[in-house]
C-alpha cells in the first residue's frame, strides 16, 4: 500500500462519503472506499490494481471476498473486480463504476456489522468514545513524553512505518492528531475512536483489520521523521488541515530549507500558516538574537574584567614607582638634615645644604605638580579655563627655568644655554606662566637626564609663521622615529636599551603636551639626527624637542581663572600674578 496517494484518497473518500478512484504513484489504478459509522469514518477499504507477484497469498483473500459477494448478491461486481485486478489501468468508466459499487457495498456491510455489535446505542457510544478521546489527549501526550529516551524507541520507527501506512486511512476518524516534532522527533498522538481494549469490537471479523492496526500501534510511540520520505509528511497532514480537524502538527525539518518546503506545501491548505510560522520564526530569531546579544555582552564583560585586572596591576606598579620617586628625594632631604646635625660635618658644606634642599624641594614640587595633572582621569586633563594668560617675558622665563634646573644639571654635568632673539617680537608671549614653566621644565629635565655629560643643552626661542617656537636641543642617544609620538604618552618611558636610566614616572612630557594643548599649542620632537660619533656603545644624536604656541598677537588662553583649591593645579611660583617687566 502506498501511503502517499492512498492516504490522500482515504481522506477524500471519508470527506465525500463515497468511493474514490485514483492513480497511485506506482502507476496503478486504485479505489478507496470509506467505512462510515454514524457520520464518522472508521477506516477505508482499498482495492486496486496489483502486480501478480504472489498469487498464493492473494488466493485466500479472494476466496473470502467471493464468499462475501455470494452472501450479499455482489457476485457480478466481484467478478468484474477480479477480472480487472491486474489491468485496472485499462478499465473503462463503467467497469470502474462497478468496482466502486462492489466495494461500497462491502463498506456498508462492515458498517452494519459494527453497528449491530455496538447495539442501539452505537451512535451514543461513538460520541462517548470521541469525548473520551478528547479527555485522553493530554494523557496520551504525557505517555508519549514518558516513552522518550527508552532504548529501542528509535528502532520502532521502522516497524511503525508500516502501521502508519495503515493508519493513514484512519486519520480522518475521530480526531487523530499527528504531531511531527519540530525538534527532530515525532510524537504521534493517537486518540483513536475505537479503544483497543473494547472486546466487543475486537471480536468483529469485519473490524479485524482496524483492531489489528490499533494493536500494532500499541500506545503512543515516538518516531523519528526522516525528511524527504513520502510519509508521514505532507500528504496526511495536508489533507487533515484541509478538513480543519483538531490536529496539531509541528513541522519537522533538519534545516530551514526543508522547513520552507513543508511550509510551501501546507500553505495551500492553510493560507495563514506562513504568516504564523514567520511570526514564530521571527520570535525565535529575536530570542536567539537576544541570547546572542547577552552572550556577547557577557564576553564583553569578561574582557572588561580582564582589562580591569590588567589596569589595576598597572596602577599598582605605577603607585610603586610613584612611591619610589617621591621617597628618594625625601630621603635625600633627611640625609642632608643628618649632615646638618652632624657636628663633625664641615661648616662650609653645611652652608650649601639649604640650597640643595631647595633644589630637591623644587624637584619634588614639579613632580607632584605633574602627578596631579597626570592623575586626572578626564580626556583633557588641563582645561583652558584653568589657565590664566598674562604677558610674559619669554627670555626671562626661559632663564628662570634654566636656573631652576641648575643644581640637577650640575650634578649631571650638563650646561644649559638660553638663546632668545630679543629683537624679535617673540620676546613676549601670553601664557599661564606657572603652567608654561612646568612644560618647559619637564622638557629641560628630560634633556638633562638623557643627555651625555659635558655636552651643551640649548634652549632657543623664535617666531615662525605667527607662532612662537621654543626648542630644547641636547646630545644623547637617538630617539627612534616610531617613538616620537609615544614619548608624549602617559607613563611611557624610553626603551631601556637606548637609555642610561629608566627611573622616573613617564609623565613629564605627557603633561608638557597637555599644557601646550590647553594653550592652543603643541609639543613634539622636531628631530633626532645622528652625529656620527659614539659615546660608549651608543651612537650620539642631536635631539630637538619643540614647543610651539600661537604668536604673541593672540592670547594663549582666555577667561578668568576658575576657583582653585590646593588640588586644583600645580603650585604657583612667586610673582606670577602680574605681568613681568621686560
Amino acid at each position: 500500500m502506498c501511503a502517499h496517494c492512498d492516504s490522500g484518497a482515504a481522506v477524500r473518500a471519508a470527506r465525500f462519503c463515497e468511493p474514490v478512484d485514483y492513480w497511485c504513484d506506482w502507476g496503478l489504478r486504485d479505489i478507496a472506499v470509506p467505512i462510515l459509522l454514524h457520520g464518522f469514518s472508521l477506516g477505508t477499504i482499498f482495492c486496486g490494481q496489483k502486480a501478480l507477484d504472489n498469487e498464493a497469498e492473494d488466493a485466500a483473500g479472494i476466496d473470502k471476498l467471493k464468499k462475501f459477494a455470494q452472501d450479499n448478491g455482489l457476485t457480478a461486481e466481484l467478478s468484474t473486480l477480479l477480472d480487472l485486478r491486474t489491468n485496472a489501468d485499462k478499465a473503462t468508466v463503467e467497469q470502474i463504476r462497478q468496482m466502486k459499487g462492489f466495494l461500497w457495498a462491502t463498506s456498508q456491510a462492515i458498517s452494519r456489522a459494527v453497528t449491530s455489535r455496538l447495539g442501539q446505542s452505537s451512535g451514543e457510544r461513538v460520541q462517548a468514545l470521541r469525548a473520551k478521546i478528547e479527555e485522553r489527549r493530554d494523557e496520551i501526550r504525557h505517555k508519549l513524553s514518558a516513552l522518550a529516551g527508552r532504548p529501542g524507541i528509535d528502532d520502532f520507527w521502522e516497524r511503525f512505518k508500516g502501521i502508519l501506512e495503515s493508519l493513514t486511512d484512519l486519520l480522518d476518524c475521530l480526531g487523530i492528531a499527528v504531531c511531527l516534532s519540530y525538534n527532530g522527533r515525532a510524537d504521534l498522538v493517537c486518540s483513536h475512536g475505537l479503544p483497543i481494549k473494547d472486546k466487543s469490537l475486537k471480536s468483529l471479523p469485519e473490524t479485524s483489520i482496524l483492531t489489528s492496526t490499533l494493536e500494532r500501534l500499541d500506545g503512543l510511540q515516538r518516531f523519528r521523521v526522516e525528511p524527504g520520505r513520502r510519509q508521514p509528511d505532507c500528504i496526511i497532514c495536508k489533507q487533515v488541515l484541509s478538513e480543519h480537524r483538531n490536529v496539531h502538527i509541528i513541522l519537522y525539518a533538519k534545516s530551514r530549507l526543508e522547513l520552507d518546503k513543508y511550509l510551501h506545501l501546507f500553505a495551500f491548505f492553510d493560507p495563514s500558516l506562513p504568516a504564523r510560522y514567520n511570526l514564530l520564526l521571527h520570535q525565535r530569531e529575536r530570542q536567539l538574537s537576544r541570547i546572542m546579544s547577552e552572550t556577547v555582552n557577557l564576553y564583553w564583560l569578561l574582557e572588561q574584567q580582564q582589562t580591569l585586572k590588567s589596569k589595576l596591576k598597572e596602577k599598582d606598579e605605577y603607585l610603586r614607582n610613584v612611591f619610589h620617586e617621591v621617597k628618594q628625594p625625601l630621603h635625600s632631604i633627611v640625609a642632608y638634615c643628618h649632615n646638618l646635625a652632624d657636628p663633625d660635618f664641615p661648616h662650609e658644606r653645611k652652608q650649601r645644604i639649604p640650597r640643595y634642599v631647595v633644589e630637591i624641594g623644587k624637584h619634588i614640587s614639579m613632580m607632584l605638580g605633574c602627578l596631579e595633572y597626570a592623575s586626572r582621569g578626564e580626556r583633557d586633563i588641563i582645561r583652558q579655563d584653568e589657565l590664566r594668560a598674562a604677558a610674559t617675558n619669554l627670555s626671562k622665563m626661559l632663564i628662570d627655568c634654566a636656573i631652576d634646573m641648575q643644581g640637577y644639571s650640575e650634578q649631571r654635568k650638563a650646561k644649559i644655554h638660553v638663546e632668545v632673539n630679543t629683537t624679535d617680537p617673540a620676546g613676549k608671549i601670553y601664557v599661564d606662566k606657572s603652567a608654561f614653566q612646568m612644560a618647559i621644565g619637564n622638557v629641560l629635565f628630560n634633556a638633562v637626564k638623557y643627555s651625555v655629560p659635558l655636552t651643551p643643552i640649548t634652549v632657543a626661542a623664535k617666531r615662525e609663521n605667527n607662532r612662537t617656537v621654543i626648542t630644547v636641543t641636547s646630545t644623547g642617544v637617538g630617539i627612534p622615529k616610531d617613538l616620537w609620538e609615544r614619548v608624549f604618552e602617559r607613563g611611557f618611558r624610553v626603551d631601556e636599551a637606548t637609555s642610561y636610566s629608566q627611573s622616573g614616572l613617564g609623565i613629564g612630557l605627557f603633561v608638557t603636551r597637555e599644557i601646550m594643548r590647553a594653550m592652543g599649542g603643541h609639543a613634539y620632537i622636531k628631530e633626532s639626527e645622528p652625529l656620527g660619533w659614539r659615546h660608549g656603545q651608543f651612537a650620539l644624536h642631536r635631539n630637538v624637542v619643540a614647543l610651539d604656541l600661537p604668536g604673541p598677537d593672540a592670547p594663549a588662553s582666555g577667561g578668568k581663572r576658575a576657583a582653585r583649591g590646593p588640588a586644583d593645579g600645580p603650585p604657583r611660583n612667586k610673582g606670577n600674578e602680574e605681568d613681568d617687566p621686560e
Binding site: 635625600s332 642632608y336 643628618h338 649632615n339 652632624d342 630637591i360 624637584h363 627611573s503 656603545q537
Partner: protein, 144 residues
Amino acid sequence: MPNLQGLRVLFVDDEPFLMRPTIEALEAKGCTVDTAENGTEALEYLKANNSNPPDLVVLDLMMPGGTDIDTDDQEMTTGIVVFRRIREELRLEVPIVISTVITDRDLLMTLEGDSKTALVQKPYTSARLFDVMGEVLHGPRRDR
C-alpha cells in the same frame, strides 16, 4: 664608627643628584669619592684604574637599563651586570656594597655569596652606610 679616612670610593648610582648628601657625608669623613652614573662609566673607570682600583665600590643595584654592555644580552639590571663583570672579567676583589630596594631573597643570596660583598637596603642613612662599609672592609659580612 669605622675609620674611613683616606678611603677611595667609587659611588655608582643613576641619581647622583639625590645621593649627593651621602656622597658629601663620605667626603666629610675623609673619603675621596668618584661617581659613575651608570654601569658603563663604572666599568670604564675600573678598567682605567685597574692597576690602582678604588678601595670600595658602592653600587646601586637598580640602575635599570637591563642590557649587557657589550653583548646586548638581557640582564635583570645593569647593577648585576656590573657586579658580575667586576668579579669575573676584571677579576677585582674590591669590596662592594650593593645598595638596593629589591627584596628578592634568591637574588640577594646570590649576591651575598661573595665574601667581599655586603648589602644595604635603600633608603639608608649615612651612618648605616658607614657601618656596612666598615664591616665589608674589616669584618665578616652580615645579612642586611
